[in-house]
């Protein structure tokens, strides 16, 4: 999976608890279909993030009487998201500067 997956999931969960299918849908909506993940790959990533204490999960009965696993961001997950945001911002700025043509000094 791309390096962006974890910060994106953290960012989505920072808005409130959510379940797998919904997370995928949000990713697709927000990116306008540009981030197209294979849905199945989300779950191992979620498991891994849970192992790393970034998120926790809980089975809850949703309205349709089908139990769903809801994921919540942990404190550590929040911190991780902050540091990710900083580094992504840095990367972004660097890229923007590099992408602009260098003025000629003649």
């Amino acid at each position: 999976m791309a390096a962006s997956t974890r910060p994106i999931i953290l960012a989505i969960l920072s808005r409130g608890e959510d379940y797998g299918y919904s997370i995928i849908q949000k990713v697709k909506d927000i990116s306008g279909g540009h981030l197209n993940w294979t849905d199945g790959m989300l779950y191992p990533v979620l498991q891994r993030m849970e192992m790393d204490d970034l998120i926790t999960s809980q089975w809850k009965l949703s309205g349709e009487s089908r139990p769903r696993r809801y994921y919540t961001i942990t404190e550590r997950g929040g911190l991780e998201l902050q540091s990710e945001l900083v580094s992504w911002r840095n990367v972004w700025q660097a890229l923007v500067r590099l992408a602009n043509p260098i003025p000629n000094k003649d």
Binding site: Y43, Q47, R66
Partner: protein
Amino acid sequence: MFDLEKEIRKWKRSLQKYEVLEEGLIADIELHLRDAYNAQIKAGHTEKDAFRQAVAQVGTAESIAVEYNKNRLIMLNRRSPLRPGRFMPALVWNYMKTALRVIRRHKGYSFINVSGLAIGLTVCMLIVLWVVDEWSFDRFNANADRIYRIYRDESATQADSTSVLTPPPLAEALKKDFPEIIKASRFGSWQGRLVTYKEKSFNETKFMHVDPDFFSMFSFPLVKGDPDTVFSNPYSVVLTEKTASRYFGEENPIGKMLTVNNTFNVAVTGIIQNESLNSSLEFDLLSPFVILLKEFIGEDNADNWGFNSFGTYVMLEKSVSAEKLNQKLPGYIKKYNDEDTDELVLQPLTDIHLFSNLGHDLRNRGDVKYVWIFSALAVFVLIIACINFMNLTTARSSNRAKEVGLRKVVGAGRSQLIRQFFGESILIAFFALVIALFLLEYLLPFFNTLSGKQLSLSWWNNPTLLLGFIGLALVTGILSGIYPALFLSAFQPIRILKGTMRSSGANPLFRKTLVIFQFALSVFLIIGTLIISRQLSYMRNIDLGFNKEHIIHLSIHGELHDKYESIRQRFLQNPDVLHVTASMALPTNIQSSPGTPMWEGRPPDAKMEIKADFVDYDYIETFEIPLVEGRSFSREYSTDLETAFMVNEEAVRRMGLEKPVVGRRFGFWNIDGQIIGIMKDAHFQILHHKIEPLVFKMFPGWLRRMYVKFRSENIAGTLASLEKTWDKMNLGYPFEYRFLDEDFHNLYESEATLGKIFQSFAALAVFISCLGLFSLASFIAEQRTKEIGIRKVLGSSTAGIVGLLNQEFLKCIAAANLIAWPVAYFAMRAWLQKFAYRTDIEIWIFFLAGAVGLMVALLTVSLQTFRAARANPVASLKHE
């Protein structure tokens, strides 16, 4: 019609193939799939299309599994505190407690389990001891890998003929001619000896002669005397400890004089401790070979290259390969004796006991085939015991199912459960080992009588053996635990705890297969036992063609040989004595051969190996050998002593002589004589061999055994009066005799031992199988208690229910017979090939074995089923 649930189930199965995708994870993904499907339906796709799209969206099972696997690898390397540890001492204690509790709660089953395994282990250990003993022969010699025996390959004169007997000058000559041979010794004897010390005298049959090199080649430990000097005086003797105590009791034997054959003395110079040594070379007394030449065969025979009567052993230089030396040996004898076409071959010392099948070989030999057969039997018996264990444990698995379910729910992984069940079976195997060691202690003396060995069980001070036994128990535990462990640990907790699991125990087909295998083995052993004992009784009761009954024989060695004629006369005065005669070899096994004889009209290149014996007058009459033509040796013809030969029908056939044969010229060595009579073919050899050409010749100087034939009435009285006559003659030798028919029986001792051992094993195998069958039957009866109750309420009779319950077992037994019969047939046919004269393998043997197996099984099973069928249905149904 599209069936969503069916498709989802199919899709789930593709995920379940991956072990890493546990149920909970699959549930997550399944929900996702359903959501995706619903979304596709909402978007207006058909059901089938929607599902296809949803599956594609979720991705392939493999790619998901790969990701999860990565997580698992990370997890294995850093375990969170909530995950079970790899080793938890607290749980081990719990396992022990559970195991002991299971054993205690089901005493009957546990007893059968443990005792079955214990018997299996005991048999296995007995055989291990026996096999180790057989392999250990001659290996105690430090130079065992450098010592070789020389044997003669006589195939130039007769196909496949060999002999371990070599001439006296060979040992010295080899040492001189081949620098690779650094030591050599002859080993041999000549006639029995009467050895006297003060008033004690014994006939010594194992008085052997060796060369001084003997003690530096072989590692027989001298407890008294110096191996370098014991033979510095030729008239010396080295005794084994046992022999020494026979003559001298507590006295110090060194320096004492023993008198041999009342003619010469030897001084005791050394004592050998060979009690616990397994050696193919057997002796009670050892003297220098020089004495044998001087006192018995004459010193002129020291260079006689035709005197093939002794063993020759050589020791090679350390780096020398025996194969290279073997290549130099062809043509060697010809150098010294140009008429001799035999070739010499080196045989490793360590091959003599198990791998040797040469002519005139030493008596104390084993056979590697029996080692394999018994090892296979040991493994079989152990397998049967293990099968019982598997069968019982899996049959009773429903009793443990709840435990497995609960353990899994609280976090036990499959591997932990596997370890637990292995632990249990190993624990039981060790219980069995303890019992087996007690059994072994108790059974070893019986086994020793059976096998004719002196095995001792000093396992407590033999760490290798102890480790071996522990290893055996461990293997048994693992072997018997494999199936139950895999089977029980695979239970799905959800099915157990919901109660949807059928409590039928393991796969019934597997259980049946095990029962079939067990009984096939038992039936095989029964058939083997029957055929071996039939062959044995066939050999013992076959019409030999001569009469061996009511005949005793005595050794006439030393001075007795000269007094033979007067002894004969005195014995014949006894009215109960019918005949007295003598010969060189016992008629039970005539083996010596003068090579190809000369006969009238013999084609120049004709070859015929003929067996020969030297006999006295009345030999033919004593043994009642029927004549086909001519007459027997008679005192009325003065020429009989020198030139008369009697041959058997086979010799006549092989020489191609036309009748009348009597009067034809015949001879061997340099004796030119004629045939005076033709004997009907008779078995003068062990029945492994076909009847071969045979010739009898009179030769008073070579008579070594005297035979006395007496009336069948009052045998004890006749023997007593013969002994009185003997004592009156003051011969200086004890009256020691043996019955000829006993000797004949002893010829087949190895077959008899094999038969007895097979018998014991068959009995044990059947017993262990029945133990297993008994408990299995009781289990099945228990399982079907309610069914039986309902059947009875509906009017079934006890007999009908017994029949119903037995049916299943009967089918197994029938199948077992079908498997065992052909296997037994081919195995036993191969065994019977060893015998030139053998019984037929008759069909009734198979039916009998099958019937015995069936009856025993039926009886065992019925004990249980009858009880179950008799039970009052009220008792089994009132709780429903």
